[in-house]
């Protein structure tokens, strides 16, 4: 923009020797004499008219290619075609179809892509290595084409290979990729392919091959049973980590995704535990502190845990290395809780009512003076730092409504993404593009459920879970 306008303005006007001389010969005599006022007026009017016919920002003199600036496009799902992956052997027939379906679902679930139904396809892919008839895919306005093939060897190992094409450019986007894994992990294979496609088109990492830990709830509202559960990001493969013998709250994945922090009432009061997901072994993290501890969260290093501890009716923020001694980070008579590390581990955002109402603050990871960043009406809580480090998601309560919102780390550009009877507990997808949270419906029969929303506020979706669910926490991308 700036460059364009600058070039236009500085474009040198070419010299016109002959033409200029001719013009002087024709016009100059009368000009030199003294052009009557009405002639000057006429020339001025013509000049104005002509000037009006030329756009102000446009270059009249083109000193090169024509330059235009396009500032308004469209924001809509990108249509793609995904012919069913080709099974390269009989054992892969069903697997190829299933993988194709999961890939399509992953892409469509983002709200950024739209699959063109197979019934609308004109062309077909008969061989993974056959050249692409782009015209056939252009005809159905497929802007991206995904082809693939699946094979299963005798040991039960599945191999998936795929290619991504930019149809209108008539070329391949990136290079073909081959992935292999156990047949029973075919969903992860599909998610991996989807992540690659997503990344190549959007330019940011995917989040499909990830998991979510949450609290599965059952029973009436006044006698709710809660269990820790983990599932794929899309709600598949639900596995329960604890039974319903005790109340569990606020599970949080470690940065490597192999452990989970959570709060349990197993001892009658809230206490923090850490569980290794692989073998479901749990360990009390704060058993020797003799106080209520809750709201834990891992630091970026995976070894430091920051949490809240209530002693003598006062709640402050503490941090400790697993197995180490706790370090008090805040020391005020108000309630400080819900701490969350920045991606670089240097800062902590938390909520506090030290100002009289619940607001968000940022302090150094070592403690010290905190800086308030939320100033809007209502109350702010449960802040979570984005994996990108640029935004902070939060829960806001204002005028009887709950919202999930985001703001910059300095508190600017606050945007509310949702609004309902009760929205709370946001958690970021690994790529920082999507937020998952709990939404609970009103009334005695109200049930909590998990929802996702794009950081732009679009594409609000409910996650399918076998039962009511709350307190989600997104894992990082799986290795």
């Amino acid at each position: 923009m700036m460059i364009a306008s600058h070039r236009i303005r500085t474009a040198p006007r070419p010299h016109r020797g002959g033409d200029q001389a001719l013009r002087r010969h024709e016009v100059q005599p009368r000009q030199k004499g003294a052009k009557p006022m009405f002639l000057r007026a006429i020339s001025f009017v013509f000049a104005c008219v002509i000037a009006l016919h030329t756009a102000p920002g446009e270059s009249v003199a083109q000193d090169g290619p024509l330059r235009i600036e396009i500032t308004e496009g469209v924001i809509e799902p990108l249509p793609f075609a995904l012919p069913a992956f080709l099974p390269e052997n009989a054992a892969a027939t069903q697997l190829a179809a299933d993988i194709s379906n999961v890939i399509a679902a992953d892409l469509e679930g983002t709200g950024l892509f739209r699959q063109i139904p197979a019934q609308a396809h004109i062309g077909s892919v008969t061989s993974f290595d056959a050249p692409i008839a782009y015209a056939d895919w252009k005809a159905i306005n497929a802007q991206a084409l995904i082809t693939g093939a699946v094979s299963v060897d005798g040991s039960g190992r599945a191999t998936v290979k795929f290619r991504l094409y930019d149809v209108f450019s008539g070329r391949e986007l990136g290079e073909g990729l081959r992935l292999g894994g156990a047949t029973n992990s075919w969903r992860r294979l599909a998610h991996k392919v989807a992540d690659q496609v997503y990344s190549r088109i959007t330019g940011e990492g995917g989040y499909f091959d990830s998991r979510v830990v949450f609290v599965a709830e059952s029973g009436p509202k006044n006698a709710r049973e809660k269990r820790l559960a983990v599932m794929d990001y899309d709600g598949a493969n639900v596995q329960y980590l604890t039974d319903s013998s005790s109340i569990v709250l606020a599970p949080r994945f470690s940065p490597t995704g192999d452990r989970v922090l959570y709060t349990s009432y197993a001892t009658g009061q809230p206490e923090i535990y850490v569980m290794r997901v692989g073998n479901v072994r749990q360990q009390a993290l704060t058993d020797g502190e003799g106080a209520m501890t809750f709201a834990p969260r891992f630091g970026p290093d995976g070894e430091t845990v920051v949490y809240s501890r209530t002693t003598g009716g006062n709640t402050d923020i503490f941090a400790k290395r697993i197995g180490g001694a706790p370090v008090q980070l805040t020391n005020t008579p108000s309630i400080e809780t819900a701490p969350s590390y920045s991606p670089d581990g240097k800062q902590i955002v938390f909520e506090s009512d030290r100002s009289g109402t619940q607001q968000l603050y940022i302090m150094s990871a070592a403690g010290g003076e905190a800086r308030r960043i939320s100033f809007g009406p209502g109350r702010y809580g449960t802040p979570v730092w984005s994996p990108r480090g640029d935004l902070i998601a939060f829960t806001k309560q204002n005028q009887g409504r709950f919202h999930i919102g985001v703001m910059r780390t300095d508190g600017s550009e606050e945007r509310l993404l949702t609004a309902s009877f009760l929205d709370e507990g946001p958690t970021w997808a690994p790529n920082g593009r999507v937020i998952m949270f709990t939404r609970e419906s009103a009334g005695a029969g109200g049930q909590p459920a998990l929802y996702t929303v794009d950081v732009s506020g679009r594409n609000l979706r409910r996650l399918p879970t076998p039962s009511a669910a709350s307190d989600p926490a997104w894992s990082p991308l799986l290795p």
Binding site: P29, E58, E69, E72, Q143, F168, I201, G203
Partner: protein, 398 residues
Amino acid sequence: MNTGVKISGAAHAGLILWMLFGGFLSFDRREPMEFTEVTLISGEQLAAMQAAGSAAPDTPETPAVPDAPSEPESAPETPAPEVQPEEVVAPEEVVPEAPEVAPEVAETLEVPQADVTAVAPPAPTAPEAPDGAAVVLAPEAAPAPRSAPRIAPEPSAPPEPDAAIADEVQEARRPDEGTEAAEPEEPREATAPEAAVTAIQPDATPDAGGAVAALAPTGSPRPASRPRQPAPPAPAAEPVQDDPPDTASQQAPADVAEDAIAAAVAEAVAESAGGADTSQAERGTGSAPTGPPMTAGEKDALRIGVQKCWNIGSLSSEAQRVTVTVFVRMNQDATPDTASIRMIEFEGGTEAAANRAYEAARRAIIRCGSGGYDLPAEKFAQWQEIEMIFNPEQMRVR
């Protein structure tokens, strides 16, 4: 002016005296008569109305209403005659004064005519009146002062006249007086200078009569169309010369105005368009049609044609912050040459994000251009190469 004031004062004084001794008394008599009658009638009627309950019979009082109108008629009549005579008298008195002023003006006109003939040429912007006067008077006054010396001082005045005009005048003079007829065609400014410049004047005087020599300077400049007339110069030089100068003096302003307007318009177009035309003409290839400059509407059509296919919804938030400039060479059927599309520069993000943004822009150009953009074929040279700046600032998700 003093005389006029005196006359006016005397006239006003006479008028006042006339008013005092004129029909002033007669008007006074009429007015009281009518006013008294009206007041009496209305009072009686009102008393009768109050005494008698029924007012119906009184309705005939309406005739009294017609009396009322008679009052206004009399009222205006009284003042009207008084005022009108005053105004009429005043102009009558002024009229005689006017002739006194008129001669003064006539004197001023005469003086410039004779002397101005020589002075007029240098003043081009002078009003038309002096020009016409000079032309008319020239033939008459010229014979006497026509002496060559007067022409000599003038030569220095005319620098402006173009060489082309000067040449034509010289040729026209040699044959006969008819040549002089051609000279008068030029604008009066140039005529004087030419006569002077053509020091031939002394040579011409012996050949032609003094009157002819005098005419030469008067019928000065003339447009190019005149030169054809030299043929008919055969007839008497003087009458012919008289006509041309008149026509010249009359047509000159119109012709000059038209030419000037055309020139002014051309100049305005050239100034406003700047070097666009020429630069584009120079830029255009020999075979590619250049046509007039691309209008804002045509550029908007192209912009709209591309932007409806520019989809950034599938881009990362980082890629949505990147502004990319894409070069594309167009085919003559207004479709993009896909092989020519390339990213020239980007701003606002990493190279990886810029590549994604560029791909989205590239898709937009190709997809919406597959059927050809709405571009004027006659201006192909101007849109043969295009740089499109894709700036998502207004659309991006922060």
